[in-house]
Each structure stands twice: as structure tokens, then as C-alpha cells.
């Protein structure tokens, strides 16, 4: 009977998955990160190859849905976790991550890093950064909006799409951005903008697809998103709207877990991560700015970093303590 055959086939094919033993004497450095970092298109494979060339070790990137999930996973696994490093946390969850007391000091010299504003932490190493921004098609806007207020003046049909701050990094970034730019006045700003919000998606992917499909005029993304279209697709029609209020900075961080049995290896990975070799991989794979001045400069056609004056960032402690209140205020504003 065919049914029986299928069952047997299923059982046979399942077995290999159960036994993926790795026989090797080299130590394995396990890095929990967000999925797109670890994916083929992301920086993961090149970084892995680069570090393995010198470390006599095996680098194992384990992708989770996002960086915070990677952290939660390590938390739930507790002492038995295989993770040595959590990579991809950002400034909006740094305080929360710090409070878990899972992270060891990184002992990496960060003085050579070139960030728009000084960021110091003895537990987290910044490895790239970007700015949240609204991305649009140049052909739609001869005069792009230059502030949050302009968004409201862009016409009745004007729609932009954002992400849920509870499930998405840029979504949370927007809430913090508005807070940093307008303080308590955000309470008045959101109701003006709510009619222009097409929808609030769970993740960035859905939002960006809606934008690409033409359902939305603008999407909450990064100032570096147009660089992808320009460099990878040779399409110059996309641009990020630069706001007078400035842009909220997202610094992506990596930290070594105290529980790691490969402390030295992990620390040397941290040094590698901010080296020229690793940093030059970042722009065209993760589409973020590197944290060092690249020897050959940024790739042709890549966005330019904003100035210090254009950069907004709330204090980690402020974010850690008040994120919930800010999110609630955001929802109250657009409800």
C-alpha cells in the first residue's frame, strides 16, 4: 500500500536529521544572532570564513528570528547554553540585555572606533550602525518630506507603513526616534499622523514588501536601504528622506556570555569583528555603516553617514526604564 511506503520513506528520511554529530577537535565558537546576519546574503558566511582563517576554530552562527530572541534563547538555556556570543543586540535593548547580567567584560579597545556619537560599554562591542529613516521613490516625490510634520502635509492619500514596536527593531526605533526628537510633544504628533499610517506590520519584511509593491508611499527603514537598490539592483529611484529633527541611531552590538567556555576565543572574535577585515564586509551584506573608517572608503554609491548634529540617541538607561511607557503612548496616540 502506498500509504505504508510513504510512512517508511518519511521515517528513513527523518533519521539523518537526528544524527548530525560533528567529529572535530577544533573548538567551536557558537554565535547566536539574528537570522539575516547568518543567512547566505548576510555577513555571516564571510565573517565566519575570515575568522576561521586565523583562529584554528569553527565558527557556528545560529540564527534566531531577531537578536532579542537570540538573547532570550540563551537566557532560557541558562548554563547549558552553547552560545559564546550574542551578536546583533542594539542600543534599544542594551539596558535590558545588561540587566540580565549574562555578559562578561569584552576587554576590547574601542578607542579607534568611529561612531557618530561616543558609545561606551564594557560589555558590548559595537560592530555597525545605521539610522532609521523613511524611504521613498524619488519619482513619487519631487520634494521629499523633511520632517515628521511634513509627513502630515504630504497630501490626503499619502500613506506610509511602519512596524510594530513590540515585535520589530525599526518599529521600536521609530518610537524612540519620535521621543528623542519631540520629547513629550509626541503625544500631539501621533494623532496627526495616524491617518497616514497604512498599517503596522509585525516585521520589517512585510512593511518593505508593501512599499515595494506600491501599496505605500514610504516605509520605515534605514538611510542605507536605498544603497541596496543602487548597488545591487542599479536602481537609483530610491532615497531616504532626511529629516531636520535628526535621525535616531541604531548601534548594533555583540557581547560575550559569562557562561562561555571559550572566553579567549570569544574575545579575539570581538577584536576581529571591529577589524578592517571584518568591517569591510558589513556595508554590502548587512547594509549598515561600519564602525571603523574603511581603508578604501565606503563602496561606490553607498549612503554617507549623518553628522553628529543629525544624530539622535536616547540614553540606554532611559530606554531600558521607559520603553514600555513610550510604546503605550505611541499606541494611545495612533489608536
Amino acid at each position: 500500500m502506498s500509504l505504508k511506503k510513504l510512512t517508511i520513506a518519511a521515517l528513513i528520511t527523518l533519521v539523518p536529521f537526528a544524527s548530525t554529530a560533528v567529529a572535530n577537535d577544533k573548538p567551536t565558537l557558537t554565535i547566536y544572532t539574528y537570522d539575516s546576519f547568518a543567512s547566505d546574503w548576510g555577513p555571516g558566511p564571510q565573517i565566519k570564513a575570515g575568522f576561521e582563517a586565523t583562529c584554528n576554530c569553527i565558527v557556528d552562527f545560529v540564527g534566531a528570528e531577531d537578536a532579542i530572541s537570540a538573547l532570550r534563547k540563551a537566557q532560557l538555556e541558562g548554563d547549558s547554553t552553547k552560545a559564546d556570543i550574542i551578536l546583533g543586540l542594539d542600543t534599544s535593548v542594551a539596558a535590558e540585555a545588561k540587566s540580565t547580567e549574562l555578559f562578561a567584560a569584552h576587554n576590547t579597545d574601542l578607542s579607534a572606533l568611529k561612531l557618530p556619537i561616543d558609545y561606551t560599554s564594557d560589555q558590548f562591542v559595537p560592530f555597525d550602525y545605521g539610522y532609521f529613516a523613511f524611504v521613498y521613490r524619488k519619482s513619487d516625490f519631487p520634494n521629499a518630506p523633511t520632517s515628521f510634520e511634513d509627513l502630515d502635509k504630504a497630501g490626503e492619500d499619502f500613506k506610509f507603513v511602519i512596524q510594530d514596536p513590540r515585535s520589530s527593531t525599526p518599529g521600536l526605533g521609530l518610537v524612540l526616534w519620535a521621543k528623542a526628537a519631540y520629547g513629550d510633544d509626541t503625544a500631539e504628533m501621533w494623532p496627526d499622523l495616524k491617518d497616514h499610517i497604512l498599517t503596522v506590520t509585525k516585521g520589517w519584511s512585510e512593511s518593505y514588501s508593501l512599499f515595494l509593491d506600491g501599496e505605500a508611499d514610504m516605509v520605515l527603514s534605514y538611510t542605507t536601504s536605498p544603497s541596496y537598490h543602487k548597488i545591487a539592483e542599479e536602481d537609483d529611484n530610491y532615497a531616504a528622506a532626511i529629516f531636520d529633527e535628526g535621525h535616531y541611531l541604531q548601534i548594533e552590538l555583540a557581547g560575550v556570555l559569562k557562561s562561555s567556555k571559550n572566553q579567549e576565543l570569544a574575545q579575539s572574535f570581538m577584536k576581529y569583528l571591529v577589524s578592517q577585515d571584518a568591517q569591510k564586509i558589513i556595508p554590502t551584506t548587512n547594509w549598515m555603516f561600519p564602525v571603523v573608517e574603511l581603508e578604501g572608503g565606503l563602496p561606490e554609491g553607498f549612503a554617507t553617514p549623518l553628522t553628529k548634529e543629525q544624530t539622535l540617541l536616547l540614553d540606554d538607561q532611559d530606554v531600558g526604564a521607559n520603553t514600555k511607557a513610550y510604546i503605550d503612548a505611541f499606541f494611545a496616540g495612533i489608536e
Binding site: 518519511a10 548576510g42 552562527f61 498599517t199 503596522v200 506590520t201 512585510e206 514588501s209
Partner: protein, 558 residues
């Protein structure tokens, strides 16, 4: 072996013969109860372990979540979705029973496909038709009619997507049930010259009505817990869901107590839907052996229902057809020959085959257990309670958010001392099997009980039990349904994006996961091609599995 009972000739066949504990004599009943209890216990364990873990990793924070608001919004949305699915589904089903036309088998295979695709794909298909930059607006503007006067974002968009997903499935189930009307009844009705209205009220309606509770509960739960569609098309936080609140609790706050509480609250509410439907007997008065007598509509009625069918099928199918169209790209050959794709395809096939097998087996055993209640002729009260106990847990997974499933399984594995990085595939298989189980159960339950009702005297008097009953009585009669259930379970887990999203990695990838990752890496072109491939496989499996597994008599699926 149960002892041979005295043959009960009484037409009303009321009184028991099994004593107070008929189940002790019925292995099938025991097996079914065991499965049901395991499924139920697993759910409880998943939520309980999250609660338990909260004590270890507790991080309680205050929350401003208005549970009752969430419940109300979700319930309204799900209720309306069920209503729309029923109305459109029954119109399509009724029209299909009255018309014969070229391409009808293709239409039937297509009817189940919407349900099993990742909901995200269907939602984007819907946008490609009805969205601001969609086909209708494009055509409208190019012929000077201007834009659609409404937007697809908001409650209307959610309902439209849910109707496309579930209405076509309802149509399929309704159609199968209507096809099982005895041909004598149809000939009689036709000969008596019943009006269309009489035909509907006397013949069709009792059939549709009997299919509604189980189907309605399933659709309600799927819509109630629908997540990505609601967020994508919802147009704002007013249409938020429990699942987002649980995301917040787990990820941002790491408040596992609240996550467990929210999951329990959602489950508790869903039990109000599940319990009453689980106890219902499938009304099989009008279900008989079908000889497929076609009572075709004539004259004006033919044109009216033909037009209705055309419009509804176009509404159902256009978002799917456009997915196929948009995915048609010469680059597809490069994609499908890549190692990543072949790996993901293989993984998808293994997962889908395994979970379809589990879902089919469980659904069969549960159906046999419920049918055993008929064979054992147990007293009415204990029968109803047992029916509920056997049927209710089946639905419970639909009412459990996938993040809770994933988190719970993860913690179970951790506390059991298993390597959490390797349990992914098993969790995905089990979770998908259990998610497909309500659909499998709704499809397989009624025919198995029909057999019991029809043949129980003969089966009891000949003492045909166990394997023999399965091999010679049941299997030949439900083979077609089994094949359909297998196809359903197969494509349902083939299209899963809810569970895999929490376990997928670069090494452990399925086609939907590959698609979602492409979307997350600006590769919308790859994503479009993968969506088209997924749809193709879904339709194809509804065509091929009935052919392989369904035996020769699979007219209604071809």
C-alpha cells in the same frame, strides 16, 4: 476481544449492553481517548512549563494590555469571517452541484489550495489585486474609471483575506457533503419538480447545516488566532491580536508569567467555542452512498448561479493566480537548481510527509474512537461526555499561539535534557501535524461515523473487529477521504510559516522559510518565485495524492 452482544433489533436501538464502562471493552475507544488526552496534556504541559520557567527567569513588569478589548476585537473579526466563509462557500458549493462545465476538476483542486498557503502569501496576492497599486486600480485607471473608492486595509481587508483562505475550503467541504446526498433523493426531488428554493431548504440546507458546527469552529479558531494577516492588512493597532501581546511579553519584557496567562486566556475563551461543537454528533441522516446524479440547473437559474460561481471563483482564485503570474520569471530555473532550494525542498517534503502521516493517523484513530461509541451503543450521557473528551483537544492547538507552541516545546526539550538546537525538526513536524489535525478531523469524522451508523448492526453481528473492520469495512469506504486528508496535511505543513519562523535557521530551512528570508533580505523577486512554487505544489498535491492513495474511485477529486 469484546464478547458478541445480542443483536439488537429494536429500531431505536437505545439501550446499552456494555455496562457502565463500555470503554474497557473497546480498545479503539481507549486508543482514541489516549491520543486525545495526550494532545490535551501536551497543550497543558506547554503552557504550564512556560509558567514554571517564569519562576526561574521571572521578570514581571506591569502591562497595560486590555485583554477584553483584544478578545472582543478578535471575536468580532473571527465571527464575521466565519459568516462570510459560510455564505460564499455554500454559494460556490451549491453552484458546483448544479453545473457541469469544462475545467470543473481543476476548480475543485484549486478550492483547497488557498487554505494551505502561508497566509502572508495570500495576503500579498490579495493586495496585488485589490491594493492601491493592484490590478483592479491599474485597469480602472487605464480605462479612465479612476481608483477604487475603498482601501483594502482595515477590517475589510482582514475579512477579505480570511474569506479567500477559508471560504474556498468551506466550499470544498460543503461540496463533498452535498455530493453525498443519495441519488434517489435527488431524482425524487427533480421528478417532483421541487423549486430552487425547495431544493435548497429540503435537500441542501440540512446537509450544509450539519457540516457547519465543526467547520465553523475550525474557521473561527483559525481566524481568531490569525496573526500575520491581521497585522499586515489590519491598518493599525486597533486590529491587534493576542499573539502580538504575547510577543511583547516574551521578547521585550521576558515576562513569562504574563505570556502563559495570555495564552491560557486565549485558550479558555476558545474553549467556549470548542466544547459545544466537540460534543455534537455529525448529523448523517441525509448522507448516503453517492451515485453522483447531477441535477443540473436550467434556464434563468443556471445563468444566475453560473454568474455567481464565476464571480466568486474569480474572487477566490485571482489573488492566487496573480501569485503564479508574478513568480513566473526565467530566473526560476536558476533558483530551483540551487543547492539551498533543493535542500529546503527536501526538508519541506520530509516535514510535510511526516506531519501529514501523523495528522492522518491521529484523525483516523480519533474518528474510530468516536465511531466506537456508536458501535458500543453506550448510554446517551456518557456518550456525549466521551465524544467531547475525544474531540475537544483536537482543536486546542488552533487556539494556541505559535510562539507559545515554540517556546513551550523549547522549554520541554531543555528540561528534558535534549539538545535544543536539534529538536527543531521534530517540533515542526509535531506542531504542524497537530495544527492540521482539526481540518483532518472535520473531514474524516463524519464519513467514519456514517459508516458506523449504517453498518453497526451487521458489524456487531458478524463480530468484525479491529484490523479486519479497518481493512475490509472502513478503509475501502474512506480511502478517498484519507487521501484528501493526507493532501491537506501535506500541503498545510508544506506552507507553514508560523512554526518554522521560530525554529528555522540557515541549515534547517523549508521553502516558506526560505521565501520569508528572501523577503527580509530585499530579495522580493526570489520570494515571488518561491511563493509561486509553493502554490503550485499545494495545488499539485491536491491532485496527485488522491490519485496515488485514493484508489480508483476518486471521481470527486479529479
Amino acid at each position: 476481544m469484546p464478547s458478541l452482544p445480542a443483536l439488537n433489533n429494536n429500531k431505536t436501538r437505545s439501550r446499552p449492553m456494555g455496562g457502565t464502562f463500555p470503554l474497557l471493552r473497546a480498545p479503539r475507544l481507549l486508543v482514541g481517548l489516549l491520543i486525545a488526552l495526550c494532545v490535551g496534556a501536551l497543550i497543558c504541559a506547554l503552557i504550564a512549563i512556560i509558567w514554571q520557567a517564569a519562576d526561574l527567569f521571572g521578570n514581571p513588569k506591569t502591562s497595560s494590555i486590555d485583554i477584553f478589548h483584544l478578545l472582543r476585537m478578535s471575536a468580532i473579526q473571527a465571527g464575521l469571517s466565519v459568516l462570510l466563509a459560510f455564505v460564499t462557500g455554500s454559494i460556490v458549493a451549491i453552484a458546483l452541484t448544479r453545473l457541469t462545465f469544462f475545467g470543473k476538476p481543476f476548480v475543485l483542486a484549486f478550492l483547497s489550495a488557498g487554505l494551505v498557503l502561508p497566509t502572508l502569501v495570500v495576503a500579498f496576492g490579495l493586495l496585488a489585486i485589490w491594493g492601491r497599486a493592484g490590478l483592479i486600480n491599474d485597469i480602472g485607471q487605464s480605462v479612465g474609471l479612476g481608483k477604487l473608492p475603498f482601501t483594502i486595509f482595515g477590517l475589510q481587508g482582514i475579512l477579505a483575506a480570511h474569506t479567500i483562505l477559508n471560504g474556498s475550503f468551506a466550499a470544498r467541504i460543503f461540496y463533498d457533503r452535498l455530493q453525498a446526498l443519495p441519488s434517489a433523493s435527488l431524482k425524487l426531488g427533480q421528478s417532483l419538480g421541487l423549486s430552487e428554493w425547495q431544493r435548497f431548504t429540503i435537500l441542501d440546507w440540512p446537509v450544509l447545516k450539519s457540516a457547519m458546527p465543526g467547520l465553523g469552529a475550525t474557521i473561527f479558531l483559525m481566524c481568531f488566532t490569525s496573526f500575520s494577516v491581521v497585522l499586515l492588512l489590519g491598518g493599525g493597532p486597533a486590529n491587534a491580536t493576542f499573539e502580538v501581546a504575547i510577543f511583547e511579553a516574551v521578547k521585550l519584557d521576558f515576562d513569562l508569567h504574563r505570556a502563559a496567562l495570555l495564552a491560557a486566556a486565549q485558550l479558555a475563551f476558545c474553549l467556549f467555542i470548542i466544547i459545544p461543537t466537540a460534543g455534537l454528533k455529525s448529523n448523517s441522516v441525509l448522507i448516503g452512498a453517492s451515485q453522483n446524479h447531477l441535477w443540473a440547473a436550467t434556464g434563468k437559474v443556471k445563468w444566475i448561479i453560473g454568474a455567481l460561481l464565476f464571480v466568486l471563483m474569480l474572487t477566490y482564485a485571482s489573488p492566487l493566480l496573480i501569485i503564479l503570474y508574478e513568480g513566473f520569471d526565467p530566473a526560476i530555473f536558476k533558483l530551483i537548481s540551487s543547492r539551498k532550494f533543493l535542500n529546503a525542498l527536501a526538508t519541506s517534503c520530509v516535514i510535510a510527509t511526516a506531519s501529514a502521516t501523523i495528522a492522518l493517523t491521529c484523525a483516523m484513530l480519533l474518528a474510530f474512537a468516536r465511531a466506537e461509541l456508536i458501535y458500543q451503543n453506550a448510554g446517551a450521557t456518557s456518550t456525549n461526555i466521551l465524544r467531547t473528551v475525544i474531540s475537544a483537544p483536537v482543536f486546542a492547538y488552533l487556539a494556541t499561539p505559535s510562539i507559545v507552541l515554540a517556546l513551550g516545546f523549547f522549554l520541554l526539550a531543555r528540561f528534558a535534557g535534549l539538545d535544543t538546537s536539534k529538536v527543531g525538526i521534530y517540533v515542526v513536524v509535531i506542531a504542524n501535524a497537530l495544527l492540521a489535525l482539526p481540518l483532518a478531523n472535520a473531514t474524516l469524522g463524519p464519513p467514519v461515523e456514517k459508516i458506523a451508523n449504517k453498518h453497526f448492526r451487521l458489524v456487531k453481528s458478524l463480530n468484525i473487529n479491529g484490523w479486519r473492520r479497518f481493512r475490509f469495512i472502513e478503509l475501502p469506504l474512506i480511502r478517498k477521504e484519507c487521501a484528501y486528508v493526507f493532501a491537506l496535511g501535506f500541503s498545510y505543513s508544506f506552507g507553514d510559516l508560523g512554526v518554522i519562523a521560530l525554529f528555522g535557521t540557515d541549515d534547517f530551512s523549508t521553502l516558506p522559510w526560505m521565501m520569508y528570508r528572501a523577503l527580509g533580505a530585499y530579495r522580493s523577486n526570489d520570494a515571488a518565485m518561491l511563493a509561486a512554487i509553493l502554490l503550485f505544489i499545494a495545488v499539485f498535491s491536491f491532485y496527485i495524492f488522491p490519485k496515488i492513495l485514493g484508489g480508483r474511485d476518486n471521481a470527486h477529486l479529479q
